[in-house]
């Protein structure tokens, strides 16, 4: 075959294997039946196979792409570019683009096929990063209150000022903090979450600010050092003892922290975000949050409304979680009955969105057909509504009447 290629032009053909080996993209040379004639070095590295061991094999077993199995590019009349994925010898799934090129002789007869294979890993990773930072992460909502917050996220994300997020438990404070980080120029750097739960003061200092180890020359990193260049998010900041609150005031003012055992402070660059489920003004009044810290961390302040105040979001989130869990449990659940919906609507949701999510997860778990019905809703909700409401009963009678 190579000899035939050498006779193609009037000039002496260059050493083809050396020529394609020098290319930075994968090349597979195939005969008319789709059997491998050779792979270049880039494709050898991509697939994990050497040209000697795969010579003469059907290309579908060497490239092992989705397109090879479902929609072979060579089976089409026209050479079309295909974006697909392959699994290499090291069991790694790699996104690729295949461009088949038919090589003809001087009489226009096809003599072989060149498969140009490009590794799209870097491109796909970049796309994923961009889509993450362009969207609002996983936080969703259609109510006016949430739309207002979601519109603010990209604006707030561009600044480095501390952010305070308030809202009842289960309203999505952590998710909102992460969304702001993802939309910020710091998105490629770490997002470090720290829950300011009760723990001994020294351990808390070590956890937050790190400590000197060895002969005092090395620092065991704390959360601040881990968040270097990125974002440090402190949830339930009011749980933090006064001593650590003072250290935070110093960080916001000077941008420095003092690791345990260190003699002088070190500079750290991390955006500070904090959250609390209670009213920060009330916390200040009760002396649980230092007033100077409150004024510093609330440079930007966002309040997440509770689920009952989010109106249409209840049904929107309900269907969102239903789709999510139906997919996760591999079920064909598509609807929710009027009675089940009524039970959910009448619930007060003290646990807000987290509680709604748990309810739908349970319902999807126990549901065996296409519709979530009242018996699939957790017992503690349905017990409060033991009798079917009159308007629902009449609606059911009407539906039955139509069917008969």
């Amino acid at each position: 075959m190579l000899k035939r290629i050498a006779t193609l032009g009037s000039f002496p053909c260059p050493d083809l294997p050396r020529l394609v080996d020098g290319l930075p993209i994968g090349i597979a040379l195939l005969d008319g039946h789709g059997h491998i004639l050779m792979l270049n070095k880039t494709l050898e590295a991509l697939t994990g196979f050497s040209r000697e061991e795969v010579k003469g094999l059907p290309c579908r077993h060497v490239l092992r792409s989705r397109a090879c199995v479902q929609n072979c590019p060579h089976a089409r009349k026209e050479n079309q570019v295909v974006e697909t994925d392959c699994i290499n010898r090291h069991r790694r799934k790699i996104p690729i683009r295949i461009t088949p090129v038919t090589v003809h002789n001087q009489e226009g007869q096809p003599i072989c096929i060149l498969d140009v294979v490009e590794d799209l890993t870097t491109l796909k990773e970049m796309e994923a990063r961009l889509s993450q930072s362009a969207g609002q992460g996983q936080i969703i909502g259609r109510s006016p209150a949430m739309e207002k917050i979601l519109r603010l996220v990209p604006v707030i994300a561009q600044h480095d000022s501390p952010l305070l997020i308030t809202g009842e438990i289960g309203t999505g404070k952590d998710l909102l903090a992460e969304s702001v980080h993802k939309a910020s120029p710091r998105s490629r750097e770490p997002f470090v979450r720290f829950s300011c739960g009760p723990m001994p003061s020294e351990m808390l200092d070590t956890e937050l600010f790190g400590r000197m180890v060895g002969q005092g020359s090395e620092i065991q990193p704390g959360r601040f050092q881990q968040a270097q260049g990125g974002t440090l998010y402190l949830s339930e900041i009011s749980e933090l003892p006064q001593l650590q609150q003072t250290a935070l005031v110093r960080y916001v003012d000077e941008g420095t922290i003092l690791p345990v055992g260190a003699s002088k402070p070190i500079a750290v660059n991390a955006r500070l975000m904090a959250s609390t489920a209670e009213s920060p003004e009330k916390l200040v009044q009760e002396g649980r949050l230092r007033e100077d810290l409150f004024h510093r961390i609330s440079a930007i302040r966002l309040h997440l409304p509770k689920l009952q105040e989010r109106g249409e979001d209840l049904e929107f989130l309900l269907h969102h979680f239903l789709t999510h869990f139906a997919h996760r449990f591999k079920k064909e659940i598509t609807t929710i009955s009027a009675e089940a919906l009524h039970i959910i609507r009448e619930h007060s949701f003290p646990g807000n969105i987290r509680e709604l999510k748990n309810i739908i997860e349970f319902a999807a778990m126990v549901c065996t057909d296409e519709e979530i019905r009242a018996e699939h809703i957790p017992g503690h909700l349905s017990r409060t509504l033991t009798q079917t409401p009159k308007h629902l009963a009449s609606k059911q009678r009407k539906t039955l009447g139509k069917k008969s």
């Binding site: 039946h33 010579k55 199995v69 699994i87 069991r91 799934k93």
Partner: protein, 117 residues
């Protein structure tokens, strides 16, 4: 003790991809590696997850397949299923190697086509 083996199949050869397989062959070998049963299964659609479930529910000890993603490979190994992957060749050749007890990962059992000068 019997060996229960699941082989991923596409027409008369090993399927190039585990996760895109729609046909499997369930083979039972005796303690002396004699073939005592073989049964074909057609799947409604290709799914790596469902193939793993099938292997587990049928108590398979070995899976013979082509390309398999890391995630499935390690899951099956964790479930104590031996995975002989990257196998290429006709199914009958593969069964013959299994009966002889000499099939191993990466085996290529095709008769190679020769380059025509």
């Amino acid at each position: 003790m019997e060996h229960r083996i699941l082989i991923t199949v596409a027409q008369d050869e090993i399927a190039p991809r585990f996760d895109l397989t729609t046909e499997v062959l369930l083979v039972t070998l005796s303690e002396n590696d004699d073939l005592i049963a073989r049964k074909s299964f057609l799947l409604a659609h290709a799914s790596g997850d469902e193939l793993c479930d099938l292997a587990l529910s049928r108590d398979m000890g070995v899976i013979v397949c082509g390309a398999i993603e890391d995630e499935y490979y390690h899951y099956l190994r964790w479930k104590r299923i031996e995975v002989i992957d990257s196998v290429m060749g006709p199914v009958e050749e593969v069964i013959s190697c299994l009966v002889q007890g000499k099939l191993k990962t990466g085996d290529i059992l095709y008769q190679r086509t020769r380059e025509k000068e």
